[in-house]
Amino acid sequence: MPAVLIEDIHKSYGRLEVLKGVSLSVDAGQVVAIIGRSGSGKSTLLRCINGLETFQSGKIVVAGHDMTQDPRKLRELRKDVGIVFQSYNLFPHLTVGQNIMLSPRITKNVPQAQAMALAKEVLAQVGLSDKFDSYPDNLSGGQQQRVAIARSLAMQPKVMLFDEVTSALDPELTGEVLLVMEKLAKGGMTMLLVTHEMNFARTVADTTVFMHQGLIWESGPSKELFANPQTPELANFVKAGAH
């Protein structure tokens, strides 16, 4: 049973079709990078996996949950699927610790002491133990993103989604975030990441998926895909992205 099963997803915004029949299967522990130009549909696809976007036809099954619009079932699904956003979206009125503890306490009724221990543990995992009582506003972008990762990890998800999580960061801050993601991957987390970091995709992701105009244009083992692009679109994309 794959961790994420996407079957023939079609999605349109009004008359504009952004996903034209996308299918993808991800096994537990697999790390999949999704690359492509803006407008190729990659973020939309990712956001379909935790229900932030709806789709008109097709099927998604993630962590054993069928994708649904039923609020209660969707919440159960979301407990098993974590997502990290490009703009971190930390809650500014709460400290780092409170940010992380909030959801386990109110959605899973985890008692305060346990939630605090859990928060400290995930914070240590991302290397920010000393920031427990800081407010997000006092952290750098890279630190905020790592807190965002910790906040999702505190829900103990089975699948983690990363939506261009380093795109909004200054170059010198991306490293610390990528390091955390690499650790997670090595630890066996099932991960799907939409990214522009080609190097990271090639070295850390097992599989890379290249999306173009709402379809999966090419997909395969990362190193192979980057070394031997089968289509001109991917070849051009890789060439343009090579620093």
């Binding site: 490009q86 500014p92 909030l102 959605t107 407010y135």
Partner: protein
């Protein structure tokens, strides 16, 4: 001008000041609570709840406070609900301030970027939980200046309660004027008192805002950051 006769009635004036403070403080607390409930209702319950809340807000904002006061003080007894002047004053002030606050807080809630909502639901929160834990406090912090202005306005509007013989500061002034026949002196003293009260309230609310919302600085960047990304 003779101020002495007026100052001799300072007892009455002090009682009036006290009643103004009590009425205003109570109306602020109750009105805000009402407003949060109404905004929650409007945000979370269905379309009809929203329409009812909007209708209430529009009604209170487009009719004078005096008429609302008359309606409650003179009208409710016809339904069998008797209330004293002070009770009617408090109820009217609460309902009026509640309506204005609902509008202000609602605008604050709607100004919170959608990405905060997405983060909340992605963490498996219900819409009510997102409203209560994620959106409400930042929204409140963001509109605190506008809310504070409204609170001061309501404190000043309490003067209208003198029309139904409530002896807050203006009501007390009317009695002092009757007793001393020194109209100008009475009202200039009372005007100065209102001025001091309004400015003090402003300063107090500013201080309170800083205490309640220490992270306000981060909030103004909330929209900009999300937009830039």
């Amino acid at each position: 001008m003779q101020f002495d006769p007026v100052l001799a009635e300072s007892d009455l004036i002090l009682k009036g000041i006290w009643l103004t403070i009590v009425l205003s403080a109570s109306a602020i607390v109750l009105g805000c609570t009402l407003a949060v409930l109404l905004v929650a209702l409007r945000t979370l319950a269905g379309r009809w709840a929203g329409i009812v809340v909007d209708a209430y807000v529009e009604l209170m904002r487009n009719t004078p406070f005096l008429i609302q006061l008359f309606m409650i003080f003179f009208g409710l007894p016809l339904l069998g609900i008797r209330m004293s002047g002070v009770e009617a004053a408090l109820l009217t002030m609460t309902l009026n301030l509640g309506a204005y606050s609902t509008e202000i807080i609602r605008a604050g809630v709607e100004s919170i970027h959608k990405s905060q909502f997405e983060a909340g639901v992605s963490l498996a929160m219900t819409r009510r939980q997102v409203f209560q834990y994620v959106v409400l406090q930042p929204a409140f912090a963001r509109v605190w200046p506008a809310l504070s202005s409204q609170f001061v306005l309501m404190m000043l509007a309490s003067s209208i309660c003198s029309f139904i013989s409530v002896q807050e500061l203006s009501g007390a002034a009317a009695i002092v004027e009757q007793r001393t026949f020194r109209s100008f002196e009475t009202y200039i003293i009372v005007t100065v008192v209102y001025l001091v009260m309004a400015l003090s309230l402003k300063v107090f609310l500013l201080w309170l805002g800083r205490k309640l919302f220490p992270q306000v600085s981060g909030l103004s960047r909330l929209d900009a950051k999300a937009e830039a990304a």
